[in-house]
Symmetry: C2
DNA sequence: AATGAAAAATCTTATGC
DNA sequence: GCATAAGATTTTTCATT
């Protein structure tokens, strides 16, 4: 990976639908070598895929909550808990942490009412957990812009 | 937005580089009406953009930390703090919360050493804050797959 | 109001240099 | 890495439902 590859990654994180030609121009190449580099980056797993970014409000997911969950410290409980998370579509991101809480979720739902229902029906009922703590997001302060790519 | 539009959103979140023709086939249209719908969704701001998804390890960002920060409850402190966050590229996401902590960051750096440097140089020195608490991410439990789109 | 078919413009991709 | 050319795709236009 050289400077040109890093520029390609930067550009494709800003606009994942750039044509190879536009991309080539921005990184100072013609399209054939540019395309070869992009395909290589895809094959190598550096570029894992491409995604449309959807406005959460537009699909009824404008209400976000961070949920800290304390999970029992044993392998079975952790595995069952993490498998259960995969089945809840409202859970957008989930991280297992060192220390306490054992897990943090980001959840997106329509509104407080929807969250109350989710909380009572699917979060408090998760097996292997000892505590659930919800924090409502007031505002997204920094929009995800992809990862910075250092020179 | 009808059922077809929702299917388009689902498909483009899975693969943001689908050709209009493939997309059209998947949602049961021919390419012209399909393209018009996609452009409309873009114009309406439902589709906010397209992004390549980069492997964090591949760009030296495989070490992630969640940082809870308590910010002074006054407008100036909050605004200065949030502006400062925009200038730290290692901060990938940031949320302002109701209650405590006032703010949660997700940070991606190369390793623990890089995080130590960031913490001492740029986090503890932020103005208007009263507490910084770092939690290292052991594992991403649920990969971001975009937002669920309900029928 | 939205779709489908077909043609023109543009883009992707393979090949030879 | 570049230039070219063949093959796909995008995008426009116009007729259709």
């Amino acid at each position: 990976m050289d400077q040109i590859d890093r520029n390609i990654l930067r550009e494709l994180q800003k606009d994942g639908r750039l044509t190879i030609q536009d991309l080539a121009q921005r990184v100072g190449l013609t399209s054939s070598p540019c395309m070869r580099r992009v395909r290589q980056l895809e094959q190598d797993g550096v570029i894992q895929g491409y995604r449309a970014v959807i406005n959460p409000e537009a699909v009824g997911r404008g209400f976000e909550v961070l949920v800290s969950i304390e999970v029992k410290r044993d392998r079975e409980a952790v595995e069952a808990f993490e498998a259960a998370l995969q089945e809840i579509p409202d859970v957008i991101e989930a991280y297992r942490l060192f220390g306490s809480p054992g897990c943090l979720l980001r959840i997106a739902v329509a509104d407080l009412t929807a969250y109350e229902r989710l909380w009572i029906e699917r979060l408090t009922t998760l097996s292997g957990i000892t505590e659930v703590n919800s924090q409502i997001i007031m505002k997204r302060v920094k929009e995800p812009q992809g990862l910075p790519v250092d020179d």
